[in-house]
Amino acid sequence: MALHSMPNLIRPIVILSCSVALSGLIACSKPGNQPPAKAQGKSVDQATAGAISGHVVFEGSAPPPTPIKMAVDPACLTGGTPNPVSDAVLVGKAGELQNAFVYVKDGLDPSYSFDTPTTPVTLAQKGCLYSPRIFGVQVGQPIDIVNDDATAHNVHGLAKTNQEFNRMEPMQGFRMVHTFTAPEVMVRFKCDVHNWMAAYVGVLPHPFFAVSKADGTFEIKGLPPGTYTVEAWHEKFGTREQKVTIGEKQTQAVSFTFTPAAS
C-alpha cells in the first residue's frame, strides 16, 4: 500500500507513528546506550555454574505437515514456496524434535535475580509466517515485532497473566516493541488476518531457557548448582518434566521424549 494513497488525516499520524517507532528502535538497537537493568538480589557465581544440555525427540509417526491456504492473500506467496505447509511440527529423520521450549520451571533459589536484557528479541513476520515460531524472553525484555510483508498483519498477543493486546502493522516496515511484565509460559501470538500464523513466547524471570534446534539439541548454561524441575513444552505435543540435579561446574545431560499421545 502506498503511503500517498492514505487519507489526509491518517497520513501525519502514520508518519508520526513510524518516526516514534523508528526512534524507539534506534534507541533499543544500540546496546551501549542502555545498560541491562541491574538485578537487586544475588548473582550466579559463574565459577561454579553448571549447565543442562540434551535433546528432544519424538517417537512414533509424526503428523503430516498441514498445508496452508496462503492464496487468500497473494502478497503472502511472493517469494515463498509454492505449496507452503505449517511449521508447527518439525521432526527430523531420526525423530529430532525442533521448536520445543525447554526451561527451568522450579527449584531456582528465589534470592537470585538477573539482569534484564535491553537488547530486543526480533519477531519477524515474513512470508506470512512468524520467525522464530518459538522463543523465550525475560520479563521486561523488549520484543521487536516487525512486518516484513507487503500486506497488513495484526499482532494479537493472547496473554492470560500479562495484558492481552491487539495491534496493527498495516504495511511493510511497520514495527512495534512489546514488553511483558510478568512470567508466562507460553504466550501465543496470532495474526487474525492470516489465521495460520502463530508464534509462542516463554516469558521467564530468569535466563534459563532454550529452544530445541533442528537436530533436537538444546543447552541451558550458567545455572547455579542445585536441583531443578525442567520442563519441555511443545505446542502440539504438550509438556514433559524432569528433575535434574547439577553439581558445581557440571553439565547434566537430559533428554525429553514426546509421543503423539502426549497432551
Binding site: S5, I10, P170, D192
Partner: protein, 312 residues
C-alpha cells in the same frame, strides 16, 4: 383530487414496503456476514474501530481486504450500509406511514442498530469478551426481526387483508411460547458459539456415544442445552404447524408460513448436525446462523399474523 391523493399514498406505502423488504434482506446478509466473521475467527483481524487500519469506513482500499480483513471489514461495510438504510427507513416511515406505532417501530429499529454498532465496536476493542459478543449476536436477531416486522406490517396483505384474520386464542398463546423458545435457543447458540463450545460434544446425534453425556463441563452443558432445546423447538413446531394446517388451512397467510417454518426447522436441524460432523466448517456454520435467523423471523411473522385480529 382525494382519489389521486389516496392513489399517491398507496404508491408511497407500496414503495415503503419494498424498501423495508430490501432492508430485511440486507440485514439477513449482515447476520450471515457476522456469522462468517465468527466462523473464520476473523473478529480481531482489524484491531481498530470505528476506523479500519486507520482508514474511515468506506475508504479502506478494497485490494487490502484479504484474509480475515475480508470478513471483518466486509461485515463492517454491510453493517454501515444497513445503518444508513435504517435511517432512510425512519425518514420514509415519518413521511409516508400514517400509523404512529409503525413509525415508532422504525425508531426502535434505528436505536437497535446504533446500539448494535457500538456493541460490535466494543467487542473488537475489548478482544471479544463473550458477554458483549453474545449481546451483539442476540441483538442482531432482534434487529432482523424488527426489520421483518416492519416489512410485514407495511405490506398490502397486512393493511388490507383479503380474509377476516383468524381469531384463535390458543394459537396466539402457542406462538408466543414458540417465539420465546426460539429466541432462548438463539441465545444458547450464541453463548455456545462465543464460548467456543461448538464441538464440545464431538458426535451426533449421540453425545460421546450416549443419549446423555457421561461427563459434564460448562461447554458440554451449554452444547447439550442447545441440542435439547432444538429438540423441544422441533417438536413444538411440528405440533403447531400440524394444528395450523388442520384448523386454518383456508388461511394462506398462516398455512404458507407454517409450511415454511417446517422447511426452515428441518434445514436448521440438518445444518446443526453438519456443523458438528464437519468440524465447524465455516460456510456450514454460517448457514446455521442465518437459518436460525430465518426460523426466528418466521415465528415472529406467525405471531404477528396470529395477533392480526387485535390490530385496527
Amino acid at each position: 383530487v382525494s382519489a389521486q391523493a389516496a392513489s399517491a399514498a398507496g404508491a408511497s406505502m407500496l414503495w415503503l414496503h419494498r424498501y423495508a423488504k430490501v432492508l430485511a434482506c440486507a440485514t439477513l446478509l449482515l447476520v450471515a456476514a457476522g456469522g462468517m466473521v465468527t466462523s473464520t475467527s476473523a473478529g480481531l483481524s482489524v484491531p481498530d474501530w470505528p476506523t479500519t487500519y486507520g482508514y474511515p469506513m468506506f475508504s479502506f482500499p478494497l485490494h487490502q481486504m484479504v484474509g480475515g480483513i475480508f470478513y471483518e471489514h466486509g461485515h463492517r461495510l454491510i453493517a454501515s450500509t444497513v445503518g444508513f438504510l435504517t435511517i432512510g427507513l425512519v425518514v420514509f416511515l415519518w413521511m409516508a406511514e400514517p400509523r404512529r406505532w409503525v413509525r415508532w417501530l422504525g425508531v426502535l429499529a434505528l436505536a437497535a442498530v446504533v446500539i448494535q454498532g457500538v456493541l460490535g465496536g466494543l467487542t473488537v476493542l475489548f478482544f471479544l469478551p463473550p458477554a458483549i459478543s453474545i449481546a451483539h449476536a442476540g441483538l442482531a436477531q432482534l434487529f432482523f426481526c424488527l426489520t421483518v416486522s416492519i416489512a410485514l406490517v407495511t405490506s398490502p396483505g397486512w393493511r388490507n387483508p383479503a380474509l377476516r384474520p383468524v381469531d384463535d386464542g390458543r394459537l396466539r398463546r402457542t406462538v408466543v411460547i414458540l417465539v420465546s423458545l426460539v429466541y432462548v435457543q438463539i441465545l444458547i447458540g450464541a453463548t455456545m458459539r462465543h464460548l467456543g463450545a461448538g464441538l464440545a460434544i464431538p458426535d451426533f446425534p449421540l453425545a460421546f456415544g450416549h443419549l446423555i453425556p457421561p461427563t459434564w463441563t460448562p461447554p458440554i452443558a451449554i452444547h447439550f442445552a442447545h441440542r435439547t432445546v432444538a429438540l423441544v423447538v422441533t417438536i413444538f413446531v411440528l405440533v403447531l404447524a400440524l394444528r395450523i394446517l388442520r384448523s386454518h388451512r383456508d388461511h394462506p397467510e398462516l398455512a404458507r408460513v407454517a409450511w415454511f417454518l417446517l422447511f426452515a426447522v428441518a434445514m436448521q436441524v440438518t445444518l446443526g448436525a453438519f456443523v458438528v460432523l464437519s468440524g465447524k466448517q465455516p460456510i456450514v456454520n454460517t448457514l446455521h446462523v442465518a437459518t436460525g435467523a430465518l426460523v426466528f423471523a418466521t415465528t415472529v411473522v406467525l405471531t404477528l399474523r396470529a395477533y392480526r385480529v387485535r390490530f385496527a
